[in-house]
Amino acid sequence: MNTQETPDGGEFRAQEMVGDADLLALFARRTPDPQRFAAGVAARLQERGTDARGIALPRAAGILPLDLGWLGASKLWWLATPALLLAGCVLAALGAARSIQGTLRTANMAASTADLRRGPAAAAQFVLFTTMALVCIGGLWSGSPLVQDAMLLTVGVSTGVLAVGVARCARVGGIDRATVATLAIAVLEALLVLSPQWSGSMPHGDSEWARALPWTLATGIVLLLPFVQPIARLLSALLLGVVLPLTAMLPTTRMPKVPDAFAQTLTIAVDADAAASWQTLAHVAVAAGELGGFVGLHPSVRPEIARAFAASSGGSMIVLSAAHHLGIVDGDQWRTAASQKSFAYQLRQLRTANTPLRPHSFEAFLLPMLRASGDLDPATRDRLAERLVAGWPTAETTFPLQELAEIVWWLDGIGRGDLVDARRVAIHTLLVAHQAKGERPFRGGFAPNPRELPLGSVDSTHQAVALLLRVGVPTELDLVALRRFLVDHGSELTAASPEVQLHRLATATDLARLERMTGPIDRAPLQVLVDERNLVAIAIVVLLCWWAVASARPQPFAVGALP
């Protein structure tokens, strides 16, 4: 060793101390004895002979692209393949393979691509990996819920196996925390890219919390970022910045908050010619009044109603009916209108005809006119009641729910609600028969004509909810499915037009009024688990990744033997 004193004061200098000779001297006592070493190898060879059993794992270790041998001789690592494939897809797409390899090399867990390229076994394995990747990704994008569930299960299980393997390896210092975190982030980002398939707007499944899915993955990724190398952190953050807005914003449908949303939607201008909008406005306004959120109407609404009173065209009947529901027309105005020739004729027909009465929704304005004109005497009332009961829907009726809703409304309007109460069981039966049993997003709603098309529609569901509010909820009705239908169709898309918002709000008010009567409609805990299986699986994957990272040592081999 070349320690020496300097001429000016006896200082030790280390410059010459770490030459090759000194370092060789440092390790000299640890240098293996060549003869003893060769004898040891020879003894092992003699002991094991030429029996090749038990060498499958070492052999695999020589050709695998990553050192997966630690997953054990049970070959469980095959289950981890899909997760590794997803990770590989993202890494390849980013063009970051070299960086990752560099990261691995820095951690001395080198994955030599030369190994992958060498030998027929490696080539066959590469083909197998690629084929499985295509199958996995094709299955995920096939749109089949069954395939998606199966793939998610596979990814979940394989990630679990991977995490357990990584944790086992990491605990003994075989792989460092940065490498585990890089692998975990790659898996989570791959899932994030694919998450729209599982958190999509509503095509499959019964999830109501699907919006949380990309955010769960993003949270998992962000919490792992501090553990990875700077280059991997930068790439991961960039990918997250691009993918998260795309995946998280796509399904940003949200249920309007009733009654808060009234303030935004009731004050919109309504197209005078859009019948549906006037009906919907009336629908929402009634709910707003009932739920205590009425905030007034857009300034254009009253002039439109005034014009409808002045004219008496077919289109204006809808506006007049809406005006009645809005409750903004006084008795004098109705009386004046009733004296107009066209309306007087309609009222006379209503009073004197003997045929079954099946009123339409746009004829609702006739009821306040009838009252205001003083023609709704007991005899007229009874006659109207008889006609309405005679018009009660039968098995041959095309749209029984719609007609029944109007008849019930009229019976209540003329003060003969007793006739409705007497037919409560029949109404319940009709409602149960009309609830759609098919697939989401049509299940749970009410079908206008289940014999022809058993799909729930928003309009029929409005009418059914009005009936439910009137006659109560039959025990056979699937309230949870109805709630899901209302949530699906009441959830508004970001940046939707005011008219769309109004229609969504009408559906949301149905749910608010229904829950006001029944109390909160909750799913059973087991049902929640089944419905939210995607989110549960993703959460488990995130937790497994965290666990694997937490299990790893900051440095893979900090316990190296000293010379």
């Binding site: 070493f37 020879a42 030599s112 030369a114 003994v172 210092g173 075989g174 440095q555």
Partner: protein, 176 residues
């Protein structure tokens, strides 16, 4: 009378000649004691030979042989570490790899400095200096390029020099 040297296949002997030191250093850097590292290295060569590496790689293809040995060594090491972690800890035994020669006290500052080095610097020094080995063999075992290994060796020596200097000053201060 001296024992007759063990005769192995020339190709296996060549591998051992190239990789014995770096491989023991590699294993000793990852949790094995020196004695265990030597035993595991013997196991690695035996497994590699029995596993058919001789059929898959040319004898002079050091990169291929290095990658092969690394994979086997890591698996054996992980299995060994798991066994050690699960089972009862044996009492410290005499280290057969350490000869009965007295240690050189003059190397103490260097030994102390080495203990404070970064693990990856320690590893490359162990692999390179356990026996006089070229960077090519070390690189083959680490899956890195020889240039990268040389660069790391340079950095390791520089870091070691700085640490050794610190220890020398401390010792000099204590002696005054």
């Amino acid at each position: 009378m001296t024992a007759e040297p063990t005769r192995l296949e020339p190709q296996l002997e060549a591998w051992i000649g190239h990789f014995r030191g770096p491989l023991v250093g590699f294993l000793a850097s990852r949790g094995a004691t020196w004695a265990d590292a030597e035993e595991l290295a013997m196991d690695t060569f035996a497994e590699a030979w029995l596993g058919g590496a001789r059929r898959n790689a040319a004898a002079d293809d050091l990169e291929a042989i290095g990658g092969w040995l690394r994979g086997i060594a890591q698996n054996l090491l992980f299995a060994f570490l798991r066994r050690r972690r699960r089972g009862p800890q044996p009492l410290p035994a005499d280290d057969p790899a350490v000869p009965a020669t007295p240690t050189d006290d003059r190397l103490e500052p260097l030994r102390a400095a080495f203990a404070e080095l970064r693990p990856d610097f320690q590893e490359v020094l162990r692999m390179h200096y356990l026996e006089a080995t070229s960077a090519r063999e070390v690189a083959a075992l680490l899956g890195a390029s020889p240039k990268a290994v040389e660069s790391r060796l340079y950095q390791a020596r520089r870091a070691l020099r700085a640490l050794a200097d610190k220890h020398l000053r401390r010792m000099e201060g204590a002696s005054r």
